[in-house]
Symmetry: C3
Subunit: 255 residues, 3 copies
């Protein structure tokens, strides 16, 4: 099955899933959500795959939700956002993320679902939810405090500030930062090392590590999605989108 928005390549037992909308900074379009869900569902059951690497084509990792689709007509989706989230959370094999450039929204929160994140030294992450009048997603309200502690996670998810690659490592959101030109090689080395180990051990240990948190993660996703549905289109979100269109800073005074 060809997936229009992704490049999928295998090297031994390592599958690399590359988000491939570089002109849109790999923004998470509705088509890409479906393609990512299919890619993870397929890799989960493909016995030739032991490890998956997620990365982005071009200079960005992912700019987050595709604003060009906002307010447009709803599309028929095979899996939708929720199907994509479930497919990643339930992905049973080690998931490495190579953050090759900026990650915004989903491009930041997906790191919380990874088993190992390597960032280019030029990469940085931002959770713009408050600045858009909405709230956090992809289980980040559950995963980020466990990775970073409550205070760093709160600031990152509340304040919409950028976090540089080195800060991400200090905070525990990424395991390593490497020079951008060495990112692909380093991630390939890490992934190949895992792929040389027996799949039953990798899958079992990951399952044991996730088990104590799995229900709480899924409860957080449901609560986040309900909250997103409430805030989307409400007053602050409308002001944020209006300001975006009018190319002015939003004014949330009194909101």
């Amino acid at each position: 099955m060809p997936l229009d928005t992704l490049l999928i390549t295998d090297a031994g037992a390592v599958r690399t899933v590359t988000m491939n909308r570089p002109d849109a900074l790999n923004a998470l379009s509705m088509a890409m959500m479906d393609d990512l869900a299919d890619a993870f569902l397929d890799a989960a059951v493909d016995d030739s795959v032991k490890v998956v690497v997620l990365t982005g084509a071009g200079r960005a990792f992912s700019a987050g939700a595709d604003l060009s689709e906002m307010g447009g007509p709803p599309k028929q989706q095979r899996h939708g956002l929720n199907g994509m989230i479930e497919a990643i959370i339930d992905f049973p094999k080690p998931l490495l993320v190579a953050v090759n450039g900026l990650g915004v929204g989903y491009g930041a929160t997906v790191c919380g679902l990874a088993d190992y994140v390597v960032m280019a030294d030029t990469a940085r992450l931002r959770a713009p939810f408050s600045a858009l009048g909405i709230t956090a997603e992809l289980a980040s309200t559950a995963t980020f405090p466990r990775l970073m502690g409550h205070q760093r996670a709160s600031w990152f998810l509340l304040a919409a500030e950028w976090m540089q690659a080195t800060e991400c490592v200090e905070a525990g959101l990424a395991a390593e930062v490497v020079p951008a030109e060495g990112l692909a090689a380093r991630v390939a080395e890490r992934a190949t090392m895992l792929a040389a180990l027996p799949l039953a051990s990798l899958v079992t240990t990951k399952r044991l590590l996730r088990a104590p948190h799995l229900d709480a993660m899924k409860a957080s996703v449901r609560a986040e999605n309900r909250a997103l549905a409430e805030l989307t289109g409400a007053e602050a979100n409308r002001e944020a989108l209006a300001a975006f269109i009018e190319k002015r800073p939003p004014d949330f005074t009194g909101l």
Copy 2:
């Protein structure tokens, strides 16, 4: 409603609550517990307030329980210790803490309930519970291990040693340390940044971040309070207070 033990000032949507018993090193008297509870309950429902900053007047942040009231007659309280704890735990808006000087007991454990803590480089914290023959409170047995990891939290809560500001940041109990003379300005800058964002996003994201832990935090408070009731007045606590009065080190041999 005037609150005798606090100074309350607003700057835009940022409310600053200053513990104002500098001659007593802002010790947590029974009156201050009630005042703090009222201050948080009021700020929670005041639509003009988006963010609260908690700090102390004078050279200390808070010296903890007011020992001068210990053993005295019980006072009629509007909320009591438990009402104060609940009001802070349930406070729905971002809570920043500016630790302007030493924090002991409550002055340390309240940091575990904050969304963002900035410490003056001259500040330091201590959990003197074992040295008093009692145990930890304010949900710190739940919040500290999540912030610091089990080992650092155990040592801090068991050993009654001081933790310097830089150690607090390394441990995750505080987000930043700044020169003492720049503390107020830095916290104002952070608080103002949050207060420029929409309240619905701030409140929703904080609620989502807290939700997975709220029941466990409150269960920890109940268990701590039961344990404190058992240990207060028991043999080790009596020895600690006797040593305090007699200005000698306590002797817990065989206790």
Copy 3:
């Protein structure tokens, strides 16, 4: 009761339990499991003991499971692995671990059950589970992510790489690293400091710190043990043991 595999010495209220099979690098034989269980059960109820230090004799801390017993006839055990794990998890007093040399398998995972770990600068830890075709134990799938964050814990438990002492401290698996020649003195100083405090406070605060996680830790132990039973003797484990005997690297291709 003499315990053949351990040295047990008391200094004031500090009991030191030294694993004493230096020629076998303190590998965890079936006899040592039973002896450790008895040592912790006894120290738990001995009123003269306030704090326990666990360490190893000779140049290693512990090489992990005793491979020389693998595949041999089952021995009659007083407590077994599970009895030992329960005795350590339920040990009500502060447990300090002095990692005097390499720790592999159990020698690494037991650190997750400690209240305070000090490592010699020459010490290092390894979780070889994937390389043996098995999975993690001693509640490490629950304790390690809480100490290190999910990514570091995943890598350590999945990849079978060594972690140096300084990395262990950065990760939160140990509280301190000291020069090897100063390890015993430093741990004695820390333990003596705790032992000068009242036992009721130490026990109560540890109980409060453990309470929110105790059920989850025990559920993780049960899940780990079930998984270990499934993987032991399965194809990857057989290949690992064959490679060990044949002194060649294992080949997990297709496994």
